[in-house]
């Protein structure tokens, strides 16, 4: 008979020390500089010696088979040590320079790409989409796959003016940081929640639901004596806050859900301060499995940026230099009333000077 082992809680993650390559431990906190030897290949120099990093693409949504294959390669080439980046790339940490080429070949044989360093498009951070989330206005994994199939050459090379960060989120909850990416692809609903008056009274607290709406669009009401809510459609901006607290108010609408494109955000402090992404294209249709309208729009933006920005200029810095009118012109994007902010502090985005380009 198996003896019951004591149930453990609150043990937290294991100590990172045991996962650091011995060479990393010796150089810990003493690194002097790094060099990029080739796209996806870095050398970090420290007093105890150099460590070589090979950065590899990953779809992020993976199987144990994928990880097992990665770990087999780690055992073979990097003494079993590897890590993941904040953008979900895999990084092998090699003590021997001679292992770089054979590892690259095996990685490529697995159908993975080596790259994502310096002036490249790194992996796309993204969310769950139709694979796993109730809120999604589009799929995330499919969009990423479709877009990166088109842009793979920018992952495996370093020919862009600066690094370019792409992110995908499948609804306004934005589980990924799309609000500060060079290019963001954001799933949008375009119609108000569809209230299920049958289940709402059982599933949702009316005051909480009413309070959840940032635009005060929700009012308590009663239908045939049953308490429920109604939505003032004029005021609804399809943000999905109500749905988060009340499952009886879904927003999914196959006819109208789709994708918007945002540009010019940035996180790192280099040269200019962090910036939010701004709306470029208010709506493109959901067209799975390949979203051709989205991929071609994103590709166009990447190409005009690549052709026109100065070295080290991020997308937002480039647009600030040339001005938004010229950006819309070059990108061939129609400027519409949807581009004018009408939420809190909207006025701060209006032109309040005569600094315009004609």
């Amino acid at each position: 008979m198996a003896t019951e082992v004591e149930r453990k809680t609150d043990i937290g993650p294991p100590h990172y020390d045991q996962f650091l390559h011995p060479l990393i431990k010796e150089n810990y906190g003493k690194w002097q500089y790094h060099e990029t030897l080739a796209p996806g290949v870095l050398m970090h120099h420290g007093p105890a010696g150099d460590i070589y990093t090979v950065r590899v693409s990953s779809p992020r949504l993976v199987s144990v088979n994928f990880l097992n294959a990665i770990m087999d390669l780690a055992d073979k080439y990097s003494d079993g040590y590897f890590r993941f980046t904040s953008r979900n790339n895999v990084e092998f940490l090699l003590a021997s320079k001679d292992n770089i080429e054979p590892l690259k070949q095996e990685v490529e044989a697995l159908g993975l790409l080596v790259g994502g360093t310096n002036n490249a498009i790194s992996n796309v951070v993204h969310t769950q989409g139709w694979v796993h989330c109730h809120s999604a206005a589009t799929d995330a994994s499919g969009l990423v796959k479709s877009v990166m199939d088109e842009l793979a050459e920018y992952f495996t090379s370093m020919k862009l003016p600066a690094k370019l960060r792409v992110a995908v989120a499948c609804c306004l909850n934005m589980c990924g940081a799309v609000h500060a990416s060079d290019i963001a692809i954001l799933g949008v609903h375009r119609t108000p929640p569809k209230i299920d008056n049958e289940t709402l009274p059982n599933l949702c607290e009316i005051p909480t639901t009413v309070a959840s709406c940032p635009n005060n669009a929700i009012r308590p009401t009663s239908i045939e004596g049953k308490a429920t809510v109604k939505v003032d459609e004029e005021k609804c901006m399809y943000c999905g806050n109500c749905y988060t607290v009340c499952p009886a108010m879904p927003l999914a609408d196959p006819l109208n859900d789709g994708v918007s494109i945002w540009v010019g955000g940035k996180i790192c402090n280099a040269r200019t301060e962090p910036m939010f992404t701004k709306l470029a294209i208010p709506y493109l249709p959901n067209n799975p499995p390949r979203w051709p309208e989205v991929t071609s729009a994103v590709k166009k933006i990447v190409e005009i940026y690549a052709a026109n920005a100065k070295p080290y200029e991020r997308v937002g810095e480039w647009i600030n230099r040339i001005g938004w009118p010229q950006f819309f012109d070059m990108a061939g994007i129609e400027f519409t009333k949807y581009h004018l902010d009408d939420f809190r502090h909207a006025g701060t985005t209006y032109r309040r000077s005569l600094h315009n380009r004609y």
Partner: protein
């Protein structure tokens, strides 16, 4: 096995140079009904252009209020394999370092107890195990804790803190990001597992202003490395850059946001009193330049995505503090912040929205910090000041 699996739309996503998530899910479909029905349901989503998941359910492991996201198919009869498809978030290691030995234990457990599918990693940083049934949650949890792994957060609690690679493989790190990340994750296990906050609280830790974890945009609390003294210059390496023919003037000097760099032949002169620590020159000339010696971190508060009141970047609350073992000053600050937010925040109010509502001045007073000019871009430009001190007529004062 795959013969009864018809997914013509998804099959198209097996083509092309970028690695395919469809291939990966398919690789599990032979073994797991769950993976197979996930593909079938996703194919239907691709046909119908809508998701088929129900709003999250209320499941978890005993005693914890976070770490498990309940998920049920809206079409359980059609796709019984995903009638339950819960997610478990696992605390990742500091800096996302692993050995194959350790991670193999997790893949083994997950192949036994779940779908065999995962996200490496989730947006917050956790290792995300995607898809299992309610009755498997507790056995999976036991198997994981047996091997030394624990669940992350979800709901109104502290989420698993995450940090950049820092001193483990980056010359720019201004403090030990991995150590403080590990320390905070352990120090606040209770806050991680038992939601007591008004809403979620994310901590991200970056070793320098390059901010590789996006702390300024994605964390309620960012700990971002910074230095106070002069940028360190290796003049020999600097001369080598110039000798190599690199356009230091165009690429570095002219890109400095405050114009505080001068190139004098092969020598670089930096007016450090005007340097805003943006990292540009150090990024371009890594062999010649590095952050100064008086290092620590700035603390930012309040970043978040748009829900509910619009997106916010973090704002600087502590312009500089030392980040040193045993990190008691960091704990003290975190606890002062939580206490004030607990007491005065409202339901679903993130710390950033809270500070905007009560005002930065009231917030600073509440946590016992003094206002400093480094906390703002500019002083107020409206005259509606709430004066608290004024003179009373003589004889009438207290």
């Amino acid at each position: 096995m795959a013969d009864d699996l018809k997914t013509p739309l998804l099959d198209e996503l097996e083509q092309g140079p970028w690695p395919s998530f469809v291939k990966d899910i398919k690789s599990m479909a032979g073994k797991k009904e769950m993976a197979k029905d996930l593909l079938r349901q996703l194919e239907k989503s691709y046909e119908d252009k809508r998701g088929y998941w129900k709003h999250g359910g209320l499941v978890g492991v005993m005693g914890y209020g976070g770490g498990v996201i309940g998920r049920y198919s809206a079409l359980p009869e059609e796709f019984p394999g995903v009638s339950h498809f819960h997610t478990m978030r696992i605390n990742q290691t500091s800096g996302w370092f692993y050995t194959s030995e350790a991670l193999r234990e997790i893949t083994k457990i997950w192949e036994e107890h779940g779908s065999g599918l995962l996200n490496v990693h989730g947006s917050t940083g956790d290792l995300v195990l995607l898809g299992t049934r309610t009755e498997e949650l507790e056995p999976t949890f036991r198997a994981l804790t047996e091997k030394g792994w624990d669940l992350g957060g979800s709901g109104s609690d502290l989420r698993t803190p995450s940090c950049c690679v820092g001193p483990a493989r980056c010359e720019n790190a201004c403090f030990d990001t991995l150590a403080v990340n590990y320390n905070l994750t352990h120090q606040y296990q209770d806050e991680l597992h038992r939601p007591m906050f008004n809403y979620k609280y994310k901590i991200k830790i970056s070793g320098c202003p390059n901010d590789c974890t996006a702390a300024i945009a994605r964390s309620d609390m960012g700990i971002i490395g910074i230095w106070k003294d002069d940028i360190q210059v290796d003049s020999k390496a600097m001369a080598d850059y110039v000798d190599s023919g690199m356009d230091v003037q165009g690429l570095v000097v002219e890109n400095c946001p405050t114009g505080c760099i001068q190139l004098d032949g092969k020598e670089i002169r930096i007016d450090n009193s005007n340097c805003v620590k943006c990292m540009h020159c150090i990024n371009v000339l890594p062999k010649a330049l590095s952050p100064g010696k008086e290092r620590g971190a700035a603390i930012t508060l309040g970043a978040k995505a748009p829900i509910v009141e619009g997106a916010l970047f973090g704002s600087v609350i502590i312009p500089f503090m030392k980040i040193e073992e045993p990190f008691e000053e960091v704990h003290d600050l975190i606890e002062r912040i939580w206490e004030f937010w607990d007491e005065h925040g409202t339901s679903r109010e993130r710390i950033g929205e809270f500070i905007e509502r009560v005002s930065l001045a009231a917030f600073l007073e509440g946590i016992g910090e003094k206002p400093l000019p480094q906390m703002i871009k500019a002083p107020r430009d409206n005259p509606y000041v709430f004066y608290e001190e004024y003179f009373a007529e003589e004889g009438e004062g207290e």
